[in-house]
């Protein structure tokens, strides 16, 4: 009974001071909005990282040409070229590696019937599928014969499939890659986008790519797979030994290639992501505290403004706890309104900033709501307590 009355009184008072009420809510709203944004962003980045980790085989090292400056900042593509035979040498020389796969990648136009599309064309060897755990869901990967004989066969990614064939099976169809006839022999499983789209790719024999399509004798990269993640030091040492010797680098020269451990890169992303999240959470907490102090402040002002009202209510029989709950209800409602403003604001911000795919984490919406109500209680306790314990006569006589 008194509960609904308190809510009615609270809204009555908030309405009679709309600007003040609104200004107070902004602090809370910004805090809650920031929390929701960070949490959603963090969750989405984590999902992408997880996906990426699934996409690439574990323990894969990416070897690319280029001088590694401090912290792996990339320099202009060097003139140094990686060679196919170096990939073979790596595998031969290093017990830490189970595979070393040469890769040549370029972009190229695809044509099927009257459809055009552009994708990455990746020339590689048969072992590629084992390095990346990437096996066809339909058809097959090319084999050693086809590689040796520079056959024009292709294994296509799911995006390419969708764009050129729609729902139809591509196996046995003829497509044109950079105006050259190819037969589609395999379709890879969809891996999903992360930072890049690995599904927008066509795999062909490396021989075909180098000699028939791109006219190149070098590689874009070598993918080396370690036997286990503990072999990293050894693998790195072996790779440096082999490649430095092959490139005839003297002692004083730096490496002219870079080795990147893919999961390390993701770890770094994850850590940066976490650092950023921590930082924003701290800011959010500060703004929540500030919001709470704002509510407490406004409630104290409200109590002072309404001393006579308190006196009147007490004189006609309101108990202390009735006054206490009246002011507490008001501050909780302030907190909740701040929370709702923050939640809707945060969601709207996520929608515009992240886009349609922005997650809505209902559990966090719930937490936010509870936190705001809690802040309302905490912030309102002292002012409400002061109001309830005022002397009745003094309150009545208060000017």
């Amino acid at each position: 009974m008194l509960f609904f009355e308190n809510i009615r009184i609270a809204f009555h008072n908030l309405r009679s001071n709309p600007l003040r009420s609104f200004l107070i809510l902004i602090g809370m709203a910004v805090g809650i909005g920031a929390v929701l944004h960070v949490v959603v962003l963090g969750k989405m980045t984590q999902q992408r990282i997880d996906k990426r980790l699934q996409q690439m085989g574990a323990n894969v090292l990416l070897i690319r040409p280029g001088v590694s400056r401090r912290h792996g900042v990339r320099t202009a593509e060097s003139t140094v070229n990686l060679k196919w035979k170096e990939a073979d040498e790596l595998l031969e020389h290093s017990a830490a590696l189970s595979h070393a796969v040469p890769v040549y990648s370029g972009n190229g136009g695809l044509v099927y019937g009257n459809k055009n599309w552009s994708s990455q064309i990746t020339g590689t060897t048969v072992d590629y599928q084992f390095v990346n755990n990437d096996f066809p869901v339909e058809g097959r990967f090319f084999n050693q014969d086809e590689l040796d004989q520079r056959r024009r066969v292709s294994v296509i990614g799911s995006t390419v499939h969708k764009e050129l064939f729609g729902e139809r099976s591509p196996i046995g169809e003829t497509i044109f890659i950079k105006s050259k006839r190819f037969t589609v022999i395999g379709l890879l499983k969809a891996k999903g986008e992360s930072w890049t789209n690995p599904d927008n790719q066509v795999f062909i024999p490396l021989t075909t790519a180098q000699e028939r399509l791109f006219g190149a004798a070098h590689l874009s990269s070598i993918l080396a797979k370690m036997r286990s993640s503990e072999d990293f030091e050894e693998a790195l040492f072996d790779i440096e030994t082999v490649l430095r010797r092959s490139h005839r680098l003297s002692e004083d020269k730096k490496n002219d290639f870079r080795v990147r451990r893919q999961d390390f890169f993701l770890q770094a992303v994850q850590e940066t992501n976490q650092d950023l999240a921590d930082f924003i959470i701290v800011i959010a907490l500060v703004s929540l505290v500030v919001g709470g102090i704002g509510i407490a402040n406004v409630m104290l002002i409200s109590v002072t403004e309404r001393v006579r009202e308190i006196g009147i209510r007490r004189a006609i029989g309101a108990k202390k706890h009735a006054i206490l709950t009246q002011f507490l209800t008001e501050s909780v409602i302030l907190g909740i309104l701040g929370g709702l403003l923050g939640i809707t604001g945060g969601m709207a911000f996520n929608h515009f900033y992240i886009g349609e795919e922005a997650l809505i984490l209902w559990d966090w919406v719930g937490y936010s709501f509870a936190i705001c109500a809690g802040i309302g209680v905490v912030a309102g306790l002292y002012p409400a307590f002061r109001a309830a314990n005022r002397n009745v006569i003094d309150s009545l006589r208060y000017e």
Binding site: M1, E309, I316
Partner: protein, 226 residues
Amino acid sequence: MALIEMTNVSKSYESGSLKVQALSGVKLSIEANEYVALMGPSGSGKSTMMNILGCLDIPTAGRYLFADRDITTLKDNQLSEIRNRQIGFVFQSFHLLPRATALDNVELPLIYSGLSPEKRRARAMASLEQVGLSERMQHTPSELSGGQRQRVAIARALVNNPSLILADEPTGNLDSKTGIEIMALIATLHAQGNTVIMVTHEADIARQAGRIVKLRDGRIESDLPT
């Protein structure tokens, strides 16, 4: 037993190093259905006495029995309940909630008695009718004249059927014509069986009461029937 039984009631205020003895050793007994006028010069302790009678304040010494209950031993919650159910207070400066309508103001005591909204509304409307304000129920105090405001306050004091109606200078803020109307209303309430204690400075108003108690320096100077 009398409705009100005060024995040796004293009240002192301490403001800083100064100690003010507002009431000292007051002995007073009032029966149900009496109409008592409380008089005395400014600062003689009339309001202090009314506050204690109305359970808004408690004496620093002595005993006050209201309807056979020793007020000095009661807890704050119990005092609130007595104020709510048994006492109707009419103040000189009305003490209405400024942003609430007349009806809401009169309903207020009933909210704290836990009555349902329908019953509250019905009783408040009846009470406003009794003071002749049926036409002004949805007006806020600022939209009402002084006399109308005091009528609302009286309606609020009546709404819980109290055993005691206290009025501290109810006409103090009103012009003489309106004051006479309010006094007539209070006389009617008494005639209907209510116990009324009223503070006034004016002798001809006091003469309407059945008994005049005069205070001076916190003591009862005289206590005579009219």
